[in-house]
């Protein structure tokens, strides 16, 4: 390709039109930023981005509508986790009893190493109990590596109650309906 280089006219070769044009643009931006508050900078720790729905932030454990642990320690998330960030300690044969109906067991300990986590969302996708969700936290900080390993308590506290997703309540209602359902024999 041949780029045509047209000769500059004398007026253009003085560079004055370019300088005046440049001054206009820069002055406009200067005044807009300084006096009209048009700066695009976000004062980060004080202001924060509003995170869109569906954002994949840090994975936390959630509680059901009654405040019970949803996780049943099936360890699917542990197996699917690509960076092996999740570590679940199952309750064992004589472990603590579950705190809700319709569950056989709950994890004794549930740890996510946030330094390893890559926020892929596989754990949320694979979870049959809808117990782990990637919520909106994106800025995780800590003073040490140990501090960045979040345990069950912390994950549950951060996850909060997910009253919207009531999988087992609906299953139970369906089951009750089944019992009274008139069945022809």
């Amino acid at each position: 390709m041949i780029v045509k280089r047209s000769k500059l006219s004398l007026w253009e070769r003085l560079y004055l039109p370019a300088i005046v044009g440049g001054f206009k643009v820069t002055l406009g931006h200067f005044i807009a930023t300084l006096f009209k508050g048009k700066a695009v900078t976000m004062q980060y720790p004080e202001e924060k981005w509003s995170v869109p729905p569906g954002y994949r932030g840090a994975p936390y454990l959630v509680r059901d509508q009654d405040g019970h642990t949803k996780c049943v320690s099936c360890q699917l998330c542990e197996f699917v986790c690509p960076p092996k960030a999740i570590k679940i300690t199952p309750p064992g044969p004589n472990g603590q009893p579950v705190d809700r109906a319709n569950a056989e067991k709950m994890p004794r300990e549930f740890e996510i190493n946030m330094l390893r986590c890559i926020f892929c969302g596989f754990c949320q996708e694979v979870c049959p109990e809808e117990a782990i969700f990637l919520l909106k936290d994106y800025s995780l900080t800590g003073q040490s590596r140990e501090e960045m390993i979040y345990n069950k308590e912390k994950l549950l506290a951060l996850g909060g109650t997910h009253a919207g997703v009531q999988k087992w309540k609906h299953k139970l209602e369906e089951a009750r309906e089944q019992e009274s359902f008139p069945v022809e024999t």
Partner: protein, 356 residues
């Protein structure tokens, strides 16, 4: 030797160097703030000493203006690791930053920065050949950069050094010739006398606007500022001549650039804008009391500030010249223009002396 003279000279040197360094530091801040506003940003507005936010009103305000940023920057430069690469030519590597910094300070010596304060004339050295001294020192400035480029012993700094030597020497010619009409008109090489002339006859920029124009552009080229920052040109040469430098050695180049800008501004104020004088409020007379003496220094610093803003603003306004354009502009435009300017001024002055 007159001990009084030595004492007061030393005192004046200290009183010039310290504010000069402060001005350099705050010129960097001004650069960052102005560039930020031009680019729709806010610039440094966080750095503050630990207790600053407990000072009502003033603390948060100064923090927002970034007034503490230069202190933090200076501290950072001092504390950073001073890394000397294995392949450099050690002696020149150490010498270059000092040589880049010193000429800027030496130039200030002949510039009258005020009239009289406590019976002392406010100029470190009132030389009769002031401007010649200045040009002698300014041409030393190129050595710092060339040596830095040579000492680094690596290709990008080398290219930067080569570019700077050609650029600075070319524009020095135009610069030197551009001020000749000023001294033809004033009839004296002493800068204090030049200011006295301007106080009575009006600013030199009105007599020799072409001189000012050439001097201004040559000053941009001499201080390696955009649109003539080819020795540095981050986008082409990594960092140009100071690529291999770190810590305070880099800091010296950085401060040297700003000190050079201040020196060039001070020179322009003295040559074209009447130095410490203002044509009203009686500020064009030699001060009779301390208040007026301080006012004169204030006027001088204010005028430097205006020119510094121009220097900074142009950096964020214009793109860099290509190397051939730079050389073309220097040799084929400004040098003939400066020569024509000398000729025209001389002819006009000669015609005036002729009996009509």
């Amino acid at each position: 030797m007159d001990w009084n003279f030595i004492l007061f000279s030393a005192l004046k040197i200290v009183c010039v160097i310290i504010p000069l360094l402060t001005m350099v530091a705050y010129a960097v801040l001004a650069e960052r703030k102005i560039s930020a506003f031009i680019q729709d940003r806010v610039g440094p507005n966080r750095t503050a000493p630990p207790l600053a936010r407990y000072v009502p009103v003033l603390g948060p305000l100064l923090t927002r203006w970034g007034m503490f940023q230069p202190l933090a920057d200076g501290l950072k430069l001092f504390l950073k690791e001073d890394f000397t690469p294995d392949h450099v030519r050690k002696m020149y590597f150490w010498l270059a930053p000092a040589i880049a910094m010193i000429p800027a300070f030496l130039t200030i010596a002949v510039i009258p920065f005020g009239s009289v304060l406590g019976g002392q004339q406010m100029v470190i050295a009132d030389l009769n050949v002031g401007i010649l001294y200045t040009f002698g020192i300014v041409s030393l400035g190129v050595y710092g950069i060339v040596l830095a480029g040579y000492a680094a012993n690596s290709k990008y700094p080398f290219l930067g050094g080569i570019r700077s030597s050609a650029q600075m020497i070319s524009y020095e010619i135009a610069m030197g010739m551009s001020v000749i009409p000023v001294f033809l008109i004033a009839g004296n090489l002493n800068l204090s006398k030049l200011i006295a002339y301007q106080a009575t006859h009006g600013w030199m920029v009105f007599y020799a606007p072409v001189s000012f124009f050439i001097f201004l552009i040559a000053a941009f080229a001499e201080t390696n500022r955009l649109p003539f920052d080819l020795p540095e040109s981050e986008t082409e040469l990594v960092g140009g001549y100071h690529t291999e430098y770190s810590s305070m050695k880099f800091g010296l180049f950085f401060l040297g650039e700003y000190a050079n800008m201040i020196a060039a501004s001070a020179m322009m104020v003295t040559l074209f804008f009447g130095g410490w004088t203002l044509p009203f409020l009686g500020l064009d007379q030699t001060a009779s009391n301390i208040g007026m003496g301080l006012a004169h220094i204030g006027v001088f610093i204010l005028k430097i500030g205006v020119l510094m803003t121009l220097f900074i603003w142009v950096r964020w306004m214009l793109p860099r010249f290509r190397y051939d354009q730079l050389m073309d502009l220097g040799w084929r435009r400004f040098i003939p223009l400066a020569l024509a300017n000398i000729l025209v001024t001389a002819v006009v002055l000669w015609m005036r002396t002729q009996p009509a």
